[in-house]
Amino acid sequence: MSDNPFPLSRDELLNIYQTMRTIREFEERVHVEFSRGDIPGFVHLYAGEEASATGIMAHLREDDRIASTHRGHGHCIAKGVEVKGMMAEIFGKKSGVCGGKGGSMHIADLDKGMMGANGILGAGAPLVCGAALAAKYRDKGDIAISFVGDGASNQGTFLESLNLASIWNLPAVFVVENNGYAESTSVDWAVACDSYVDRASGFGMPGVTVDGTDFFAVYEAAGEIIRRAREGGGPSLLECKMIRFFGHFEGDMQTYRAEGEVDEIRAKRDCIKSFSKTVTAAGVLSQEDLEACDTDVLSLIEEAVSTAKAAELPTEADLLTDVYVNY
């Protein structure tokens, strides 16, 4: 029996911490840069929700595919999309992962299995049905995961995708990242029948609700659901109950949130703090390990921002590239 009381090795735990910390620092820095007016378009930040993307993606292979939401930076980083290319993309630069033409809400990297963030709510779910159908035909054990928020979970595209995935028994996983607000509308007002597990049952698939601010809770549940999908058990739904540290979009005044709500969740429900506490208390990682990781991450983000700022914008000649694809 191993002395490590976790389901991951020391190196894997350190890697998890690094991923969560990278997402956090990436988003905190985008928050600052956006306020300076250097970033075009809209950005929706994932800070506070890192345990979900990281806990799920820790089970994925490079050939597994995901379709993200408008709040997609965390999913990209956890799926292995290169951070400097992401930052350049968000700054709209030619060196970005989509040539600077996707920006925050359409950032994608097909080579990494990241089929894209999506400005259209619920639009990723049908894409995932297609990817999962292809995976089923390939029969190599790869799967596809659709992320939606609680707001997009009410879209017809999402509900139709649950139905399609169920009748075709697809290796698909539907993750509802329930942060409590569809933009500014509370989930209590907007989601009928309230339980996503009930919704899953309605489409003939199992559903599980987990604390999305607890990395190990997400990791355990996602592991079982993904294994089930790989083994031919069909689709499942995972609801991650979570919180966002920032507004729906950058610039959101958040008047719909209670006074002190954000301060309280940052203090008491920070998934990175709780992960750090758990792994250091068990003596598997030390505070020095984590601090060294923090230094590396800060350096990476700094470099990503400075290279993004210095990079070239797309030219007029780039306008018509990447528009059509030859099969």
Binding site: C193, V197, S201
Partner: protein, 352 residues
């Protein structure tokens, strides 16, 4: 016997979030729909209304049960059914966590409810028992393992509760005293209770809360060991049955099945039979604190991982007899039949 009308209030805690955990995928556990939970509440209300209870104080929640109830009760009102029990929510916060149950149960106790009906699994009942003091609990199984609450049609539970709360059934018949386990870390620096079982695992994280990996289990304490239930207590139940009314409980030393003396096949979750390694077991005498053998790990209470502890901590588990009260539904209904309490209508209400 003097008549009363609306002085009897019953509390009701319906957890909308029970039976939503990982056991939906690691086993074939059911998940009772929110609308079904609301239907159960309506069945209970209908039964206790028949017994003359005019007011129910319920935990507010945002999981959907209240919305269904509001619709159904409005319909009854519009149909002219004004005899139906009045439903009122406790004025307590809604956070969607176990804190809601604590706050609401306390409000119910403070307002003098006669009994608290609980819809949930072992975890929900444990949360209510932590706060309810000597107010009896009537359990309805809507969780996953449901080792503590018994399976029964909720209408019958409602009738028994209604008749007991309105004084038609003597307290000596209606209510039963139960055992519980108390866990104290460092002389009470942290403490908690379990109604059925306390399990020690070598894991060091709470994770998805439910416990099903049996290779990491090292120690088990139970208040009762029923071979007819599933979950951790069934380990003890399959070794040496101890009933809810027997003196004491059971303490079982477990180990990795690869090194354990004995292997036991245990229904650890619905449809999931796992191998458990057993070293030995002994009676657990009440009132005597047991210090854990395991130096670090996690403690699961009634099947859910709750407390982490390390080598610097001292953890003690103590069994207590006669710790809290439940409504003995079977005894209540036998008394009802034997004394023909439901013959003739309407029921005469008794002072309590």
């Amino acid at each position: 016997m003097s008549k009363i009308s609306s002085t009897v209030t019953i509390g009701l805690v319906a957890n909308p979030f029970s039976a939503r955990d990982i056991r939906r995928v690691i086993s074939n556990a059911a998940s009772l729909q929110v609308s079904d939970r609301a239907n159960i509440v309506m069945r209970v209300l209908s039964a206790i209304s028949t017994c003359g209870v005019k007011r129910v104080l319920m935990m507010p929640e945002n999981g959907g049960i209240s919305s269904f109830l509001k619709r159904d009760l409005l319909r009854k009102q519009q149909l002219g059914d004004n005899c139906f029990t009045e439903l009122e929510m406790t004025k307590t916060p809604i956070n969607g966590t176990v804190e809601d149950t604590f706050a609401s149960t306390k409000a119910m106790v403070d307002s003098g409810v006669k009994t608290i009906v609980v819809l949930g699994g072992d975890g929900t009942h444990r949360a209510v028992a932590k706060v309810c003091g000597q107010v009896p609990i009537a359990g309805i199984s809507t969780g996953t393992n449901n080792a503590f609450p018994e399976y029964r049609e909720p209408t019958i539970t409602g009738l028994a509760v209604g008749l007991a709360a309105t004084g038609h059934i003597p307290e000596s018949v209606a209510f039963t005293l139960n055992k519980l386990l108390c866990v104290k870390i460092n002389d009470g620096e942290r403490s908690d209770i379990a109604l059925v079982d306390v399990v020690v695992s070598t894991e060091r994280y709470i994770g998805a809360r439910a416990l099903w990996r049996t290779e990491n289990l090292r120690e088990l304490f139970v208040t009762f060991a029923d071979p007819e239930v599933i979950g951790m207590s069934s380990i003890a139940g399959l070794l040496e049955p101890v009933s809810r009314n027997d003196f004491g409980g059971l303490h079982v030393l477990l180990d990795d099945p690869e090194v354990a003396k004995n292997l036991l096949q245990v229904p650890i979750a619905p449809g999931l039979i796992n191998t458990v390694g057993v070293q030995s077991w002994q009676q657990l005498k009440p009132g005597i604190p047991f210090t854990l053998r395991q130096s670090s790990g996690i403690i699961a209470l009634d099947g859910e991982r709750e407390l982490e502890f390390g080598p610097e901590d001292t953890v003690q588990v103590t069994l207590y007899e006669k710790a809290f009260r439940t409504v003995n539904i079977g005894a209540c209904m036998r008394h009802t039949g034997q004394h023909r309490l439901l013959v003739g209508a309407p029921l005469e209400l008794l002072a309590t």
